[in-house]
């Protein structure tokens, strides 16, 4: 199963087949026969689409551009639903029809069973204020407002009293780690921090649905990964329905519970990352995987497995006990940890034997293999490749506090890299 190596931080899989997408009653957002046609005569173009004309012919004949064509799917409550496709595939248009920043040409979008395409202006504004918020690619913060007032923007617009909206905005900023920046201005923040403000602004109104339009695409790769983790951590606490636009497959696989692949205005496949990787609907979907560099997507912690023998170093347990344990499990190497789980070093059958011969008080220390360094779990895999290839033992991986969480063997590494092919 290709899915075995996908870094899943949150087991949020909703059990159901994506095929034969049922418009289940408990869906948060249901899209049916949704079309968007830009141009002078959308009605006529719509007829032509329904008669089966290709969008290029329609453009030539009528001057209308088909933005989104017959989209049908249901988004479940609490899932991260990624809309993926190349630029121009209609993903931004599709998502903007959910809050009617763009009005659909035909079809319906139902949020909690209410058809937003039939809403009056007033109902629509209420829906935007209470049920659905948005995060933008270029952050779209207000430069004249402080971080706090930016985060409070949605509440300000719906006339929440000043004190109350500041309290809620401050809480939202706290949850994205910006509690210390309330009175700064956006220009004083880095890109990643700006987008945290954007995220806090979207969280502050406590909406059921968050639309995220390439929200992390403008950030550099390290920060992007960090923000993805942040989003997943937020989801763990407070399950919102997130619709996430991305053109980046790595991102989609990393955060998406399900992915909708778009091509030329059509939704060509909806499924879990595993389903899409293992069973791509067509060549276009398949083509997304060619460029994926697995070693950049994964970090050391993602593929570390806890299969090695660990030896707990504590008073009264000497190196002979460790040697016995290695022999018992028929292993060459053992990971030495203390009672707090902190990693200390690697011992091997031969190094333990040597240490036992030399005797002395400090037997543990002399038993450690030299150069057996551990790597932090958030180190990108491509920086670990060399170490794993050279080391005679599986490379140990530790968490932020230095605790042993597993190790990377050559076999596991090769299997992961093979998925890229």
């Amino acid at each position: 199963m290709p899915g075995d190596f996908l870094p899943r931080t949150v087991p949020l899989r909703v059990e159901a087949s994506s095929k034969g997408e049922s418009m289940s009653e408990d869906a948060k957002l249901v899209v049916e026969n949704l079309y968007k046609i830009f141009g002078p005569s959308p009605k006529r173009a719509l007829e032509m689409v329904e008669q089966g004309y290709h969008k290029d012919d329609i453009l030539k004949e009528t001057g209308n551009t088909v933005g989104v064509q017959d989209a049908n799917f249901a988004i479940r409550p609490g899932e991260i639903f990624v809309v993926m496709g190349l630029s121009g595939s209609g993903k931004s248009t599709l998502v903007r029809m959910f809050n009617r920043l763009i009005d659909p040409t035909s079809g319906t979008v139902k949020v909690d069973g209410r058809d937003i395409t039939k809403m009056s202006k007033k109902e629509l504004i209420n829906m935007r204020r209470n049920d659905m918020s948005m995060v933008f690619q270029s952050f779209a913060l207000m430069p004249h407002k402080t971080v706090l007032d930016n985060a409070a923007f949605g509440l300000e617009v719906s006339s929440v009293p000043r004190e109350q909206r500041h309290k809620r905005a401050a809480a939202a900023l706290e949850s994205v780690g910006l509690g210390a920046w309330l009175n700064s201005y956006p220009h004083e923040l880095s890109g990643g921090m700006k987008q945290r403000v954007g995220l806090a602004r979207a969280l502050a109104t406590d909406p059921g649905i968050m639309l995220m339009d390439e929200a992390f695409s403008a950030l550099d790769p390290l920060i992007r990964t960090e923000m993805q983790d942040e989003l997943i951590a937020l989801q763990k606490k407070d399950q919102r329905t997130v619709v996430f636009i991305s053109h980046d497959l790595d991102e989609a696989m990393r955060i998406g519970d399900r992915i909708a692949m778009m091509e030329g205005g059509r939704v060509v496949q909806v499924g879990t990352p595993e389903e899409i990787v293992s069973n791509p609907a067509n060549e276009y979907v398949k083509s997304f995987f060619y460029g994926v560099d697995v070693s950049q997507v994964f970090v050391a912690g993602d593929i570390a497995t806890n299969k090695q023998v660990t030896v707990i170093q504590r008073p009264g347990v000497d190196t002979n006990a460790a040697l016995a344990r290695l022999r018992e499990h028929d292993r060459e190497y053992g990971m030495v940890v203390d009672r707090d789980g902190k990693y200390h070093g690697i011992v091997s059958a031969s190094s333990l034997a040597k240490a036992a011969e030399s005797g002395g008080e400090d037997r543990w220390k002399s038993a450690f293999e030299p150069d057996a360094e551990a790597v932090p779990r958030d180190k990108p895999l491509n920086e670990v490749l060399g170490m794993v290839a050279e080391a005679r033992w599986p490379v140990p991986v530790v968490d932020e506090e230095g605790r042993y969480i597993g190790s990377i063997s050559k076999t596991a590494l090769l299997q992961t890299l093979d998925k890229a092919g």
């Binding site: 504004i125 923007f153 949605g154 639309l211």
Partner: protein, 303 residues
Amino acid sequence: MAFFLDDVEIPIGRYVEDVVDWIRNNLEPALDGFAGVVGFFTNNFEDFLLWVPAEVFIIAIALLSFWRVGWKFGVFAVVALLLVGVMDLWAPTMSTLALVLAASVVALIIGLPIGVAMSRNDVVAQVVRPVLDFMQTMPPFVYLIPAVIFFGLGKVPGTIATVVFAMPPAVRLTNLGIRQVSAENVEAGRAFGCTDRQLLYKVQLPLALPNIMAGINQTIMLSLSMVVIASMIGAGGLGNVVLTGIQRLNVGLGFEGGLGVVILAILLDRITQSFAPTYGSGSQRRSPLDFLKRWAGKPQQEA
């Protein structure tokens, strides 16, 4: 040299005269009302500025310059205004300043809403733009004629001619500023549930403010240049001093009047410019209170 269409004659001048006559005969009450509003501003500003003792005025401008621009400019403002005083030009300078402020206020009251309307509707923009081009390229002296015909001689017609001449930049830059607000910021406003009015006041106008302030600055500067010309129809002030210098071929007097105008121009320009927000350099944090705290050497407290 003969023009090849010499036989054809279209009396455009006559048509304009006809239109002017018609307006004078039929729109009298509207013209009077407008003159009343402009006169209200002009007279009150002038009365106030002539009533304020010169020392108080100088101290006020010095503090304003000190706060907004810097201590060097504060010193310059004091020296420059004292110079105006010793040239015996205090009263005409204050009249001119009053006319400039009145004309600018009226121009902005009319111009900013037109700019907003242009930004929201392409048809309005297409109609207004050529009118603005016309207003800006017509030699300013020409405005004096209808001003006299409709409103007679004096300060009020002088101010009205100035309003017409000085309004275009405010309209243009308001329109431009609002149109240049990034599409994502506007989308963000709408996505969080702004009504049209909230979008204008909470997103578009604040983000367009640097441009709008540039327009206001230009309107004020154009007013100043026009107020001098308007002295030809009796607007008075420094323009009158310059005009007298020309009529008597008195170089000294003309120069002194001109110097007064230059001093006003520098003060108005630097001070109005200092109010334009430059998002990104932190100047929006300046408030009189911060200024006093800085001045007193106390560490700035975060609110």
